[in-house]
Amino acid sequence: MATILVVDDSASLRNMVTFTLKQEGYQVVEAGNGQEALTKAKGGRFDLVLTDVNMPVMDGITLCSELRKLPTFKFTPVLMLTTESSADMKQQGKSAGATGWLVKPLILRS
C-alpha cells in the first residue's frame, strides 16, 4: 500500500487531507512544517509527498529542494498543495523540483 507524506501547518486541512486519503486506502504520515517533514522523510519511505507552501520554520519550496538532495527522494513525486496560484510561485516550485501544483481550496467529492 502506498504511503503519503502530508505536510501542512494547518491542522484542520492536514486532518482533512489525511482523512480523505486514508478513506481511499492510503497510508499517511503527517508533518506540521517543512523541517518536521524532512526529518520524517529521512526516517521512512514514501511514495508521494503532498505539501503546503506557506509554513513556519521551513516552507514547502525549501522542503522540496531539500528532499531532492536525498537519494531516496530524487524521483518521488512532490505535489505542492497551496492557495498560491501566481506564476512566479509555480516557477519557484518547479525550480525546487516539484512535480505538480494543486491550488486550494480543495473540494472533496464523493
Binding site: 501547518d9 494547518s10 491542522a11 484542520s12 486541512l13 486532518n15 482533512m16 482523512f19 480523505t20 478513506q23 481511499e24 506557506n54 509554513m55 513556519p56 492557495t83 486550494k104 481550496p105 480543495l106 473540494i107 472533496l108 464523493s110
Partner: protein
C-alpha cells in the same frame, strides 16, 4: 464516500482563533516588528483564508483575502508599515473574529463595522496601485485644457 466535515471545522475554528490571537499580539507589538513578525501575521491570515475557502465560509474567506493581500504588500515593501494601517489590521482581526463567531451560530457580525473596515482595506489596497490612476487624472486635465483652447482656436 461521504465526509462529515464538522470534525475538521471544529479544528479549523480552533486554529483560526489561535491565529487571530497571534495576529493581534504581533500587531500590538509592531513597533519592534521585523520581517519575520509581518510574515507570521501574514501566515496566520493565509491559513484562515485557506481553511475558510475549503470549508465553504466564503464571507470569511473573501474578507480575509483582502487582509492577506494587504499584509503581502506590507511584507514585500509595496506598502509602508504605518500606524493607521496597523490599526486597520487590528480592526480587521475583530471583524474576522466576529465573522467566525457568526459561522459558529453566534450573532451576525455588525454590518456597519464590516463595511467600514472593508472600505478601509479597499482604500489601502487601491493606494498601492494608484499610479495609473494618477496618469489618468493627468490625461483628463490635458483634455480639459485642449477643450478650452480649441474653441478659441476655431
Amino acid at each position: 464516500m461521504s465526509i462529515d466535515l464538522s470534525q475538521f471545522i471544529a479544528t479549523f475554528l480552533e486554529e483560526s482563533y489561535e491565529g487571530l490571537e497571534v495576529m493581534e499580539s504581533s500587531l500590538l507589538d509592531m513597533d519592534s516588528a521585523d520581517e519575520e513578525t509581518i510574515n507570521t501575521i501574514f501566515r496566520a491570515a493565509h491559513s484562515i483564508k485557506g481553511g475558510a475557502g475549503t470549508f465553504g465560509f466564503n464571507e470569511v474567506a473573501d474578507f480575509t483575502h483582502r487582509v492577506e493581500t494587504l499584509l503581502d504588500e506590507m511584507r514585500s515593501g509595496k506598502q509602508a508599515v504605518t500606524g493607521p494601517l496597523v490599526n486597520l489590521l487590528l480592526e480587521s482581526v475583530d471583524c474576522i473574529k466576529a465573522l467566525l463567531e457568526s459561522v459558529q451560530g453566534g450573532a451576525d457580525a455588525d454590518p456597519d463595522m464590516l463595511a467600514s473596515v472593508q472600505k478601509g482595506l479597499e482604500m489601502a489596497l487601491g493606494r498601492a496601485q494608484k499610479k495609473p490612476r494618477q496618469s489618468l487624472r493627468w490625461m483628463s486635465w490635458l483634455r480639459l485644457l485642449r477643450w478650452r483652447i480649441s474653441p478659441q482656436a476655431g
